[in-house]
């Protein structure tokens, strides 16, 4: 579902756009929703997803108009999103490692340390506004490890082929297929448990 344009967007504003802006808009409008959904399922919350989305498109804009001569622009854009997410994970690990060290030092000095906020797999809060079935699948997706969730979202929501996913995530095609197989099995199991529970 696309975000509607502001109602007061008028023709004169459109006419003032340069050729590059119009070409960029064509690319942006074609892929923005898919990229946002991918960023959201990677980041698991709206704030981080929006940062990831914006950083992705700023990179695309910086490389304009080279993108016009690319054959697989959509794959390239998703590769940027995936790489930016990996970078953010790396920084987050470093930050958490630093905080953990600090906490351990504090623990040595105090007996009432609380580590609960540092759980590695905290469930997202942004998945709450859903129908029951939608909520079930959202929860199940959130529980998946990053690699499984990325591959699943790229295949089932962004519509990429196995070979394209393999290029985006720099994994062998065989790995993509086997991870997807395991992911489907796991999701099926989680959803079955949800329906029975």
């Amino acid at each position: 579902m696309e975000n509607a344009l502001k109602p007061d967007t008028n023709d004169s504003t459109e006419k003032k756009k340069t050729g590059e802006q119009q070409m960029f808009d064509q690319l942006y409008d074609q892929h923005k929703s898919d990229v946002y959904h991918f960023a959201f399922y990677l980041a698991k919350n709206r704030g981080e997803a929006e940062d990831l989305f914006q950083d992705t498109w700023l990179r695309v804009a910086n490389n304009f108009p080279k993108t016009l001569n690319m054959k697989k622009v959509k794959s390239w854009i998703f590769t940027i999103t995936s790489n930016l997410y990996k970078d953010s994970l790396r920084k987050e690990r470093v930050r958490k490692s630093f905080i953990l060290k600090k906490m351990r030092k504090l623990e040595e000095n105090s007996s009432s340390a609380q580590n609960s906020f540092l759980t590695e797999k905290s469930l997202p809060t942004d998945f709450s506004e859903q129908s029951d079935l939608g909520h079930a699948i959202s929860q199940a997706l959130a529980k998946l490890p990053d690699s499984q969730r990325q591959i699943f979202v790229l295949k089932e929501m962004a519509g990429f082929k196995h070979s394209e996913i393999s290029e985006i995530l720099k994994l062998p095609v065989g790995t993509v297929k086997s991870v997807l197989f395991r992911t489907v099995k796991r999701l099926r199991k989680d959803l079955k448990a949800y329906h029975q529970g």
């Binding site: 579902m1 696309e2 975000n3 344009l5 502001k6 756009k17 340069t18 050729g19 590059e20 802006q21 070409m23 960029f24 808009d25 064509q26 690319l27 942006y28 074609q30 923005k32 929703s33 946002y36 959904h37 959201f40 399922y41 709206r46 997803a49 929006e50 989305f53 914006q54 498109w57 700023l58 695309v60 804009a61 910086n62 304009f64 108009p65 993108t67 016009l68 001569n69 690319m70 054959k71 622009v73 959509k74 942004d126 506004e129 859903q130 129908s131 079935l133 939608g134 079930a136 699948i137 959202s138 089932e156 929501m157 197989f181 489907v184 099995k185 999701l187 099926r188 959803l191």
Partner: protein, 122 residues
């Protein structure tokens, strides 16, 4: 058998995906991002003509003007064109044709190169 199970599982999951509301960003976020990106786009301005080119062009026009004088006189007097005057006329026509058609040919060549790419056609 394994494939059938897998397909059934996939269909089951897809039925849930259809019911799932796609996440939406904050109000006006898409437009804000678009505007931010527009400010980062490199602006491809048409190149300014260097001064030296303007000077050469002016000298060329003056030269042509000077060559035109005997030609115009001969035409006015109804006299046949002398070989130098004829050469000057041919040169003039050739330059005019080149000046007129060169940008068109260049534009068509660049358009042909661009239609060979598939960037915006997915």
């Amino acid at each position: 058998m394994r494939n059938n199970d897998y397909q059934k599982d996939l269909e089951f999951i897809r039925s849930h995906l259809e019911k799932m509301e796609k996440p939406e960003p904050s109000y006006n976020f898409f437009e804000e991002t678009r505007n931010l990106c527009h400010s980062k786009l490199p602006s491809i301005k048409s190149p300014r003509v260097p001064k030296s080119v303007w000077i050469a062009f002016a000298l060329n026009v003056i030269l042509i003007g000077l060559l035109m004088i005997p030609l115009v006189k001969a035409l006015k007097a109804g006299l046949p064109l002398s070989p130098p005057a004829l050469s000057a006329l041919i040169l003039l026509i050739q330059n005019a044709v080149m000046l007129f058609f060169a940008p068109i040919i260049l534009k068509k060549f660049k358009a042909k190169q661009k239609t060979g790419s598939h960037a915006l056609v997915t």
